[in-house]
Assembly symmetry: C2
Homo-oligomer: 136 residues x 2
């Protein structure tokens, strides 16, 4: 099992599920075309309700990470994830702004912050290229 739930976390359970699957894809542990457990199986494994899992899955589908065929199951987007567009970049900037601001307030230098981001990026290994799309 890939997903682990922290019931003490401030993050909602469905968000934890969503994030860990995204991280799994980024790290190459989950590959394009690979099938995920059914909502019932995942819910049972984690000891939570199937609707909570379904909520995470549906969000991932909306974001382009998953394809959900009605009776065929849940699959990591086989044609690869939707690449960064203008809307995503805007959202990314909006999300990082307050984080960077607080870091500055707390005396974190530009170099320190970037080093941390770089380490995080590299902690996912070379999982980025794992979505085997020739693209063009």
């Amino acid at each position: 099992m890939i997903v682990h739930i922290d019931l003490e976390s401030k993050d909602p359970i469905y968000t934890q599920v969503r994030n860990q699957i995204v991280e799994g894809i980024a790290g190459g542990k989950l590959k394009a075309g690979e099938r995920l457990p059914s909502v019932r199986a995942m819910a049972s494994d984690l000891g939570i309700n199937l609707h909570t899992v379904n909520k995470g899955y549906k969000q991932l589908e909306k974001e382009g990470f998953l394809n959900i065929h009605r009776q065929r199951g849940v699959v990591i987007a086989p044609e690869g994830i939707t690449k960064a567009d203008a809307g995503y970049w805007e959202e990314l900037r909006h999300g990082t702004r307050p984080i960077v601001a607080e870091a500055i307030c707390r005396g974190v230098s530009e170099a320190e912050l970037i080093e941390m981001i770089r380490d995080t990026y590299r902690s996912f290994g070379k999982g980025g290229e794992t979505n085997g799309n020739g693209d063009h």
Copy 2:
């Protein structure tokens, strides 16, 4: 007025208030020892409830950005903001992890991501040093 509210945003209003004050400090628009509008004045200006403003203020106080003297008003922490400690770094890594993961999934390169972070960091100017604490 420094704070602007977007009622369409997914971010709660008190979070918008909180974030914009942090960004104001990071950018040097708000300086250590400077006084903020009273909860009533701010609430009236923004057309929202005073408790919503108070919630943002209280969070900022808890995080060490503000000092709130009972009848003296709300003041940007005069002795400077609490510097980054182990707990903060942990929180920072936890908050950035899913963001970095999604960026990787969307084909954002390490260089692109870091460039964006660097631009954001520098967009706050040299506001970092503005809390005039001799410290040492």
